[in-house]
């Protein structure tokens, strides 16, 4: 998290705070710096402050404290209609009394752009979202996915450098969402625009973004590229919020050379990477991704610590098997295995031994 003003920073939040009632801070001391052309996602549960941040950037909310800068200039005192930021709203916010073409013409008309240039820009923007055939329709005559394409085209038609998207795919079905995720990402990269995208859907965040800011309780818990976020969560909130995750509670017994030995509450000892534990005797929450758990002892390092496990449930999910185990007193330990020809299908009641590479197991705050 850089909070220094550099030439590369296009969007900057510096020590931004927001309170609606003067007592509770919805956004606490936010520092964020985005280079031009980045696709950044603000991810978090509802009430985590991510939408408030987006609204402050758009100008619909004012920061109680701190500075928001766009291209180096503070925009705290600039009203929304002079910021020149494009925005896609969750409920599309298309003007129902105007046709698709009129909707797209609106931002160009208020900018006093001539008719021929306007038509050319509208044509190009509709082409980007493959909606040229629908220019004469009214928004209500379109499906949800089509409406969102138009909303996207309308946010892009006046060629803003920064586009904000507030859960734009929230109301669409899964398949459409996936198609549009891909299209939005591609458009953003092709046009070279900077995007701030708000969502509570972690899959969306992981698949679309250059970087993801995980919000919780008005703070950014971690700001990292998707792979780092998933594989190297910095605290237990991020570990639990992103993807499926197994957690075991324990106590740090030993820390040497970047490896911690953790005694689980069941008494077993395991190896883990100490992330935000620093001293022996500290309580810790150990986190392991379900697909990184190994049942085949031969694939583990020699001398790796293993745990005894009892199979409780076997779920066939097509491409993967999901097996629920009882491990070290926890009934919720899940492992995922690929549906390969040689993969064993475990039956409930079987006793097995599991292990993992120490770097896949992270000792986080309790």
């Amino acid at each position: 998290m850089a909070n220094t003003s550099t030439d590369a920073a296009f969007v900057e939040f510096e020590r931004v705070q927001k309170s609606y009632d003067g007592v509770n801070l919805v956004v606490k001391d936010l520092n964020l710096s985005m280079p031009r052309g980045e696709f950044l996602t603000m991810l978090g549960p509802s009430g985590s402050g991510k939408t408030t941040c987006l609204m402050m950037l758009a100008g619909f909310e004012t920061a109680t404290h701190g500075d928001i800068r766009l291209g180096g200039t503070s925009i705290n005192n600039i009203p929304p209609h002079k910021r020149g930021i494009g925005m896609v709203f969750q409920n599309y916010a298309l003007f129902p009394h105007m046709t698709v073409a009129e909707n797209l013409a609106f931002p160009l008309e208020v900018r006093k752009i001539g008719k021929s240039e306007r038509e050319e820009k509208i044509h190009r923007a509709l082409g980007m979202v493959q909606m040229n055939d629908f220019a004469g329709r009214r928004p209500t005559q379109l499906s949800g996915g089509q409406q969102q394409r138009i909303a996207l085209a309308r946010a892009l038609v006046f060629e803003p450098e920064l586009v904000l998207m507030d859960e734009p795919l929230g109301a669409l079905d899964k398949q459409l969402r996936e198609t549009l995720q891909f299209e939005i990402t591609k458009l953003a990269h092709d046009l070279g625009i900077t995007v701030v995208y708000v969502t509570h859907d972690q899959t969306e965040a992981l698949t679309m973004s250059d970087r993801v800011a995980v919000f919780e309780n008005g703070r950014i818990q971690q700001l990292a590229p998707p792979d780092q976020l998933y594989e190297k969560p910095e605290n237990s909130f991020v570990a639990q919020f992103i993807g499926e995750n197994n957690t075991l509670m324990g106590e740090v017994k030993e820390i040497t050379n970047g490896t911690a030995v953790v005694q689980l509450d069941g008494g077993d000892l395991i190896d883990a990477v100490p992330v935000n534990v620093s001293k022996v005797g500290e309580r810790t929450r150990v986190s392991i991704r379900p697909e990184r758990v190994e049942m085949n002892k031969e694939r583990l390092m020699p001398g790796a610590k293993t745990l005894k496990a009892e199979v409780l449930e076997f779920i066939y999910m097509g491409d993967i098997f999901r097996t629920r185990l009882r491990v070290a007193g926890s009934d919720d330990f899940v492992i995922k295995t690929r549906n390969a020809p040689d993969q064993v299908r475990l039956t409930p009641g079987t006793q097995i031994e599991i292990g993992w590479l120490p770097e896949d197991c992270r000792a986080l705050d309790a």
Binding site: G59, P79, A93, F95, P96, H97
Partner: protein, 294 residues
């Protein structure tokens, strides 16, 4: 939707009596209006059905009362007054009422309930009380306008009645516009601002077209309120501002003439036309908003 085969006797009785009650209500509402219409074509200067009329003899009917209305100076002057006062009062009611409704629909307005109650009060307070208050208020205002600003007495008279009628019309506009604003998506104004439209452009290009049905029906109510109003105009106006209802009121008391019936019939006709036009406009505008009739 007939009676189900398992209906009990009380249910049967209620089924039929409910229909009878509905029919009675309808009759009581509509008869006084219907009965006036044939009487206005009376060939005699009576308020009753003559034997000729009952025999449907063409000699029993005539348009002479209509002719009287269109030729009589008194009636024509009062019609002209009504046609001056009502549109101006409507214009003021619609402008102020719409602005008030939009203001009151913002979430950060303090004492919203109190302000709303005050603005709506002309509709709730008995008219005679409002009229008395207005009498004192507007006579002071009128004196000031005449003496300090040196305005024409007749002109000041119109201003007084127009302002008084505007106050009576505002509650209707506030109520209908507030109702349309409930369904108004605030993210539309945000979207407009985001695309670079200043607040004034946003209002006229985005908000106004969408709340237009509410504004139109509020305006219609305000117009009819002013066009029908007799109490306030009696208190506030002077003889120069004698409106149509005022003329009818005095006509009824002083010179019982079926011309009143002719005027009443014309007014009913105008009301029906106005309501139809407004309803058609409203449907068109709803279609534009994309609301599909279910």
């Amino acid at each position: 939707m007939g009676l189900p085969p398992y209906a009990t006797t009380p249910q049967r009785i209620w089924y039929y009596s409910f229909r009878v009650i509905c029919a009675l209500i309808f009759i009581f509402l509509i008869t006084p209006i219907i009965v006036v219409m044939p009487l206005s074509f009376n060939a005699e200067n009576f308020f009753t059905f003559t034997p000729e009329m009952l025999r449907l003899d063409p000699d029993g009917y005539s348009l002479k009362h209509y002719q009287d209305f269109f030729t009589n100076n008194e009636w024509q002057r009062s019609l002209k007054n009504s046609l001056i006062i009502a549109p101006f009062a409507t214009l003021i009611s619609v402008s102020l009422g719409t602005l008030a409704a939009i203001g009151l629909s913002q979430s950060h307005v303090p004492f919203k309930g109190t302000i709303m109650a005050i603005l709506i009060s002309p509709m709730i307070v008995p008219l005679i009380i409002s009229a008395t208050g207005m009498f004192f208020f507007y006579s002071t205002l009128g004196n000031w306008l005449e003496t300090t600003l040196g305005l024409d007495k007749n002109f000041v008279g119109y201003v007084k009645v127009i302002l008084a009628h505007s106050v009576l019309g505002i509650p209707f506009v506030i109520i209908t516009v507030t109702a349309t604003l409930v369904g108004f998506d605030r993210s539309l104004t945000r979207a407009a601002a985001n695309m670079g439209a200043n607040p004034v452009t946003t209002f006229f290009r985005v908000q106004m077209p969408l709340i237009l049905p509410g504004v139109i029906s509020g305006g219609l109510f305000a117009f009819i309120t002013s066009f029908d109003e007799v109490v306030v105009v009696l208190f506030v106006g002077s003889a120069g501002q004698k409106t149509l209802p005022w003329q009818m009121f005095t006509g009824l008391r002083e010179q019982i003439s079926p011309t009143i019936l002719a005027v009443a019939t014309l007014l009913v006709g105008i009301s029906i036309i106005l309501l139809t036009v407004v309803e058609l406009l409203r449907r068109r505008s709803e279609r534009l908003r994309g609301i599909v009739e279910s």
